[in-house]
Symmetry: C2
Subunit: 306 residues, 2 copies
């Protein structure tokens, strides 16, 4: 299964009829709240709004909602709000976290803090999912935001995080392209060596649940014409579900080129903690924010204690 | 001056009415020859075709041309053909080199060989120029092909190579964006430190002929809406002529995303030797090849001994 558009992913999640419980940290943020309300109307999430209760109530009314219909927890301090959200995860009342009106660093500090017990043995990583007008399905890209220059072990875990999230979304055995500038192994290009190692591990069964190709260049990963022209044979070629980029700067340039020059829509979330964290930026559009919530809900399996 | 489309650059070069002398190495390549003939008809270049003379003559006839109207030099061995082209540079008969039917490595080996005396004190670098449907002018990107992970001194020279080529094309005082994942200086991101250093040098007058901004992210370099939204103030922002990428893999991903997902047309050339070298790949379209010749001709000042 794969999704051609975010709208299909949304339909898939609606059809599950089991909204995920979303804690919004510092929820007195008009854009975040607007996106949350859209996701509530779509039946994707049930929110717990943590933050300055009076400010949240004012914003809800402005957005045409009755505050008394929502669970609001009055915790004005952003760090305290983040800690409250974490506590709700531990008691099994929350499936997802979302950043509201606070600095990314403030929220991440609480999430990664060992005392929060939100971290697992896994590396934490970011998963971006893009709807690119010229590509035939949603394309996931990792890690374009958290890990600056991951080594091969970290890339292995980053890939696993993404593959598991895609599996939860319903993308079975995703096709993974580990990116480099070319297909040849080049001892001077660490990217190419790491990519070959991830493919080797996949063939050896050590990277389960997916099909890995690498090193592979962008054109061969996503463009069927280029694949034919270069006579490149791989089940992943021209049909990748997930690109693993060599580092943060390369990934950032790639994703921004797709968003700002190819008209791609963007959703993103942080994986590797006990629950996914929706972390949109100030400049995200309302649609990007909403799709990030949909993506996070889709990437979450129903919790046993749910 | 800037060019919105390759067609405007072509018009600019035609108006100069002084075709550059182009030596095609191993010219018995149908796609390269076709592109050269188009450039000849446009008055952009006068070619010297070096290679297997019989094969070149056959191809010319197939392309509807009379072989006796061209200067053909019969040097069948590719390395010998490359050396002959270099000799013609030294006697002032050639302004540009172009790769025909030989391996890039074979041609580059001759170009960089000290005994060829084609190298200057400069780092050799690649300049890509893209026509992106969603951008308001041609966008140059360097270095996406030659230097794997340049240090700040190499980036300085790579930038100078590109700025001088743009100046020769008629792009006065190009706006240079030195790319990073974000605008903040981050000691862990060498990219951001190098970018800040290049900006410092520019302000100090050590990087003449251009306007440098950095570290800067892709959206702020090319998207005016993002610039307004993020309230970012810089004369370069949203209007970059040249992006300097942190390394080859990041640049490759960026350029291929623009080509294969944003519908960009591509031209490229190698700078830093005595003359520019046109180096297109097997998978380049005929238009990409032709525009690379136009770009190279445009990037060459009239030689004194011309």
């Amino acid at each position: 299964m794969s999704f051609a558009h975010f709208s299909e992913l949304l339909e898939h999640i609606r059809a599950r009829r089991s909204p995920r419980r979303l804690a919004v940290v510092a929820a007195d943020d008009p854009h975040a709240l607007e996106a949350v309300l859209d996701a509530v109307r779509d039946g994707v999430v049930e929110p717990i709004l943590i933050g300055d209760a009076a400010a949240i109530a004012i914003l809800l009314r402005r957005l045409g909602e009755r505050p008394d219909r929502f669970r609001i927890e009055d915790v004005a301090d952003p760090t305290a709000a983040a800690r409250r959200a974490v506590a709700l995860v531990h008691v099994g009342e929350v499936d997802l976290l979302m950043k509201g009106r606070l600095e990314t660093a403030t929220l991440m500090h609480v999430v990664v803090d060992r005392s929060s017990r939100l971290r697992t043995a896994r590396v934490m990583s970011h998963l971006a999912v893009l709807e690119i007008p010229t590509y035939h399905k949603l394309l996931a890209i990792t890690d374009v935001a958290l890990n600056l220059a991951p080594d091969v072990e970290q890339k292995h875990q980053i890939t696993l995080n993404a593959v598991e999230a895609l599996a939860a979304m319903g993308v079975v055995r995703p096709k993974v392209a580990v990116m480099a500038a070319a297909e040849e192994l080049n001892p001077k290009h660490l990217d190419s060596l790491d990519a070959a190692e991830l493919k080797r591990r996949s063939l050896a069964g050590d990277l389960p649940g997916c099909l890995v190709e690498g090193p592979i260049s962008y054109d061969l990963a996503i463009d069927r014409e280029a694949v034919t022209l270069k006579r490149y044979a791989s089940p992943v070629a021209g049909d990748a579900d997930l690109l693993v980029v060599p580092g943060l700067t390369a990934g950032n340039l790639l994703v921004k080129a797709l968003m700002f020059s190819a008209g791609a829509k963007f959703a993103g979330l942080v994986l590797g903690a006990k629950v996914p964290v929706v972390m949109t930026s100030r400049s995200s559009t309302a649609l990007d924010k909403q799709m990030s919530i949909v993506l996070a809900a889709a990437a979450t399996r129903e919790l046993v204690h749910g």
